[in-house]
Symmetry: C3
Subunit: 161 residues, 3 copies
């Protein structure tokens, strides 16, 4: 699978974010027990980020208090925070070779079955920011609950240069 990577030049990603009107806010440093990201070889594993709204956990559950459109927005917000963390970790988003894998956890009622649609909010954001380099494998599923009552949590694995 040959892939032409067009969006990962040093400036291109930041230009894209600026054109999207996005500023990368620093994500809160966790307690001492774990890291927001860890690198091994060319892979960076970014910790699961719960969706935030106005700096607070984006609470609720799909199929109950949160509908699919809001869930998509929350997944997008979580992806934005993942990118902010990645920026802080790498120092330069131009080092991103590819988003390899996304895992999306959607707090779901026992009957809600559109976790894939919710997750598109994160996937489409990554495509928008990174272009072809944003194309990733992924898994999405419905969980019973998330930390702090968040409606969505997303983690990802990135290949860096």
């Amino acid at each position: 699978m040959t892939m032409t990577i067009t969006q990962t030049g040093n400036r291109a990603t930041y230009d894209k974010l600026a054109a999207m009107g996005i500023e990368l806010d620093p994500v809160g440093v966790p307690g001492a027990a774990f890291e927001m990201a860890a690198q091994s070889g060319n892979l960076v594993f970014v910790s699961g980020h719960i969706a935030r709204k106005d700096g607070a956990p984006w609470r609720g559950k799909l199929g109950e208090s949160v509908d699919t459109d809001e869930g998509r927005a929350a997944a997008r917000a979580a992806a934005l925070d993942l990118v902010a963390t990645l920026h802080g970790f790498l120092g330069d988003l131009g080092k991103v070779k590819r988003i390899v894998k996304v895992m999306s956890l959607v707090s779901s009622s026992t009957t809600y079955t559109d976790q894939h649609v919710v997750t598109n909010g994160a996937s489409e954001f990554l495509l928008e920011v990174f272009g072809e380099a944003g194309r990733h494998a992924r898994s999405a599923f419905g969980v019973a609950q998330l930390p702090l009552g968040a409606c969505v949590e997303v983690e990802m694995i990135i290949e860096v240069q």
Copy 2:
């Protein structure tokens, strides 16, 4: 850990599938938001595949509408689709060096506790097809719901040559 890999010759895997009476159906291409598989170095991350029956999502929940035997069959079906996707992605299953990791998500009632038995349907299929190269680490757990109401979703990480 030395491992003699006996089943990954170019022809052996296809011969095995033929002997099992299995044809690899192409798995539906997802919408534009993500890929069915992504490679980084020697690792291929295959997206979570929901179980399908007769081409449609294999719906239901363990502990409610689906019993353990049916769940095993669904997990096996998901694993078969993963192998079909891998065949399409690699072009040649003979490139598989090893199935490294499987994650199995079982849509479960709040009291169903045989997710590991259900998941054996996938694990045993991979062993059957790939022999020693099919031996993998794994995690299996019960989720609140899955996309399209599927009863099982399975993803995997493969090492390729």
Copy 3:
């Protein structure tokens, strides 16, 4: 991110475990369908381990029969078993370069939202045993159920030398 690794000398980890009063019990070998760990390149993927108490599954659900303190203890117990499995797999814990990634599955009621606190039981144990090399990315979330009714299941990815 430069990291000084001080705890991964051949003896240091075992000295630390001894100082903590911990003996590594062999973890039960699973049925034939999967492995407790699998290595690809420098990464070791350790299978999800359910928490055990007195050799039996540590049963229950957070938000119902298990409180946060007990959940933390269960997560710590699962992490201890992961380290025991790693010891058995590698033969020498001194080969551990870093704990890269932890995934923690907490069997949760639909309203329990302290999965991150429960998971700290595992994360803090890994930091205690491996020092800086124990610092990891992680995801924690609430699942509907776990195999054998366990209250916590933990898996990890390790980089080895």
